[in-house]
């Protein structure tokens, strides 16, 4: 190998190494540590106003991902497309939920609102929240204490069923009723 060849090879290698620094999808470096929270939140519940409905309650001292969705699985409330009003066909389920909590006063309920994927993500998150709040309001109307009813919205991020059929969408527009094994 003559000197010219060696120089070319060296240059090629130099560039290859330099180029590697910028290769796609390399160097995944994640977040540094969390820096805690600033004062942008509180558990003080606003009394609300007439136009906004009943505001959500404070968050519970439990991990929402540990809610038991099996016990009351048959009482999942389904919604019409783009709607958060509770259809007449779904009201019997909420009466059953109400009876169950009255018979199990050591528990609380976690109302998880969901939307199908035919909306944009943020709109779906708001729609799921309105569905969860609508179920909470209905249950309060049946005599359950608001403090025992927690809510959350997952938008379209946790579908019950995958797929692009009307049947799949209908199963994803829902509020699941989770059981939390502790008093509020």
């Amino acid at each position: 190998m003559n000197n010219k060849c060696r120089l070319s090879l060296l240059l090629a290698l130099t560039f290859a190494v330099a180029a590697c620094d910028d290769t796609k999808d390399k160097n995944y470096t994640g977040m540094g540590g969390d820096n805690g929270s600033l004062p942008g939140g509180s558990d003080t519940v606003n009394p609300g106003d007439a136009s906004s409905g009943i505001p959500p309650g404070p968050r519970g001292n439990f991990n929402p991902d540990n809610a038991d969705y099996q016990t009351l699985a048959s009482d999942t409330v389904y919604f019409d497309f783009d709607k958060s009003t509770i259809a007449g066909s779904e009201r019997g389920k909420l009466e059953a939920v109400s009876e169950w909590l009255k018979a199990n006063p050591g528990s609380s309920l976690f109302l998880a609102g969901h939307a199908d994927k035919r909306g944009t993500p943020e709109y779906n998150r708001a729609l799921g929240e309105r569905r969860a709040l609508a179920v909470r309001e209905y249950l309060v109307g049946l005599g359950l204490p608001a403090a025992s009813l927690y809510t959350n919205s997952y938008g379209s991020d946790r579908p019950a069923v995958d797929g692009d059929t009307e049947e799949a969408y209908a199963k994803n527009r829902r509020v699941e009723v989770g059981v939390i094994a502790q008093k509020p």
């Binding site: 999808d25 994640g30 977040m31 820096n35 942008g40 939140g41 609300g48 991990n63 998150r125």
Partner: protein, 387 residues
């Protein structure tokens, strides 16, 4: 010359000759078809790589045609080494040097800065090659936050939380990211300082805290909170103080975006049934100005940096498309036909980054040409671009 299909090349040549002829007679006559040709030829130890990056950046704008070094209406030359890029642009018709400057960005950034300077000089519009991109991707099975360059290089997975991350917003200067995370179990808004990597939770009221949007000066965030009942728009300082309510309706308000002057917000509201776009004052609850687009489903608005246009997602026949609302004439038109959602303006107020079927694309709203932003990451959505 890959900008035009083979059959159109003779037409392009004729137009170019007409254009040059008009110039020679001292007339100013610019046609869309006659994109300036820019010869790119950069020497030095990194010259070949930088020539490639700059050429790709110029081509990506759709407003210039990169050509070999010897030809073209302009010549971009210079020297590139590990220590940076010195770039020079000459107008070959007049022979005048347009600029000669040093670009000091690290790695590929210096080449992108050179491309942006060429874009500004040749087209009069700010280049976006040096902008940063952030987005959500579900490649790992959960929705995580990612960063990348505008050309799809330097992809970085920012979060590894195994929960739902959503709705990122880069500050205009690209130094901060605000986004929604279910890390606590509930949707809260977090602020990431990208230089230090620190993450701070700034909104965690009862209910949902989501959809943050930085004000133009970066001091405020507009967002959706449901703490008072149904989801409404609020603004707050990035330090978590000075919470101000902006909407009060029976519907749900989402996806706020600031006017470039910072005095107004555009957002989506379904107070009248289906989601529609509205503009309100950014300082208090005020009248809502309904933007009539002719479409029953309009969400996720993004106000352009020049203030003239509002891009949004609409749904037609079960498919998402992107529309642009012209603020002055109060008319809207669709600018995609093959699907698209979550548009985000680049700093030239002409191009949009958007998502379609898990991939990100760059759309020229004038030519309607769309290019994929190629990344080896699946399930991409909700792009945001620094300005």
């Amino acid at each position: 010359m890959n900008l035009f299909p083979t059959l159109l090349r003779p037409a392009f040549l004729v137009l170019t000759l007409l254009f040059l002829g008009a110039q020679a007679r001292g007339q100013v006559e610019v046609s869309v078809s006659t994109v300036p040709r820019v010869g790119v030829s950069i020497s030095g130890s990194m010259g070949a790589g930088v020539t490639e990056i700059v050429s790709a950046d110029l081509k990506r704008t759709g407003m210039m045609a990169p050509v070999g070094g010897g030809s073209g209406d302009y010549l971009a030359s210079g020297d590139a080494s590990e220590s940076g890029v010195t770039g020079r642009l000459v107008n070959k018709k007049s022979g005048a040097e347009v600029f000669n400057q040093t670009f000091t960005g690290r790695g590929r950034l210096a080449a992108h800065q050179f491309a942006d300077a060429i874009t500004q000089a040749v087209t009069g519009l700010p280049g976006f090659a040096s902008s940063k991109l952030a987005f959500i991707a579900s490649a790992t099975g959960s929705k995580e936050l990612y960063q990348a360059d505008m050309d799809g290089y330097n992809v970085r997975e920012v979060t590894h939380d195994g929960t739902i991350s959503a709705s990122p917003c880069l500050s205009r200067d690209g130094t901060k990211l605000a986004y929604t995370s279910y890390k606590s179990g509930y949707p809260d808004v977090y602020l990431i300082d990208l230089a230090s990597g620190t993450r701070t939770r700034i909104a965690f009221f009862p209910g949902i805290n989501t959809g943050p949007s930085f004000s133009p000066d970066g001091s405020l965030i507009a967002l959706t909170l449901s703490k008072d009942g149904n989801p409404e728009i609020y603004t707050m300082s990035t330090d978590g103080t000075s919470l101000t309510r902006i909407t009060r309706t029976r519907g749900a308000e989402t996806s706020p975006s600031w006017s470039p002057t910072g005095d107004r917000l555009v957002y989506s509201s379904d107070d009248r049934g289906s989601p529609q776009l509205f503009i309100s004052s950014a300082s208090s609850v005020s009248d809502m100005d309904h933007l009539v687009t002719g479409n029953s489903y309009c969400t996720k608005p993004d106000w352009s940096p020049d203030g003239k246009s509002i891009a949004f997602t609409t749904r037609i026949g079960g498919q998402f498309q992107i529309g642009v609302f012209d603020v002055a004439s109060r008319t809207a038109q669709l600018i995609t036909t093959a699907g698209g959602q979550d548009p985000a303006w680049t700093r030239d107020s002409r191009h949009l980054v958007y998502a379609n079927n898990g991939h990100l694309h760059l759309l020229d709203t004038v030519s309607r040409q769309s290019l994929p932003i190629e990344m080896n990451v699946s399930g991409c959505g909700e792009p945001t671009v620094s300005r």
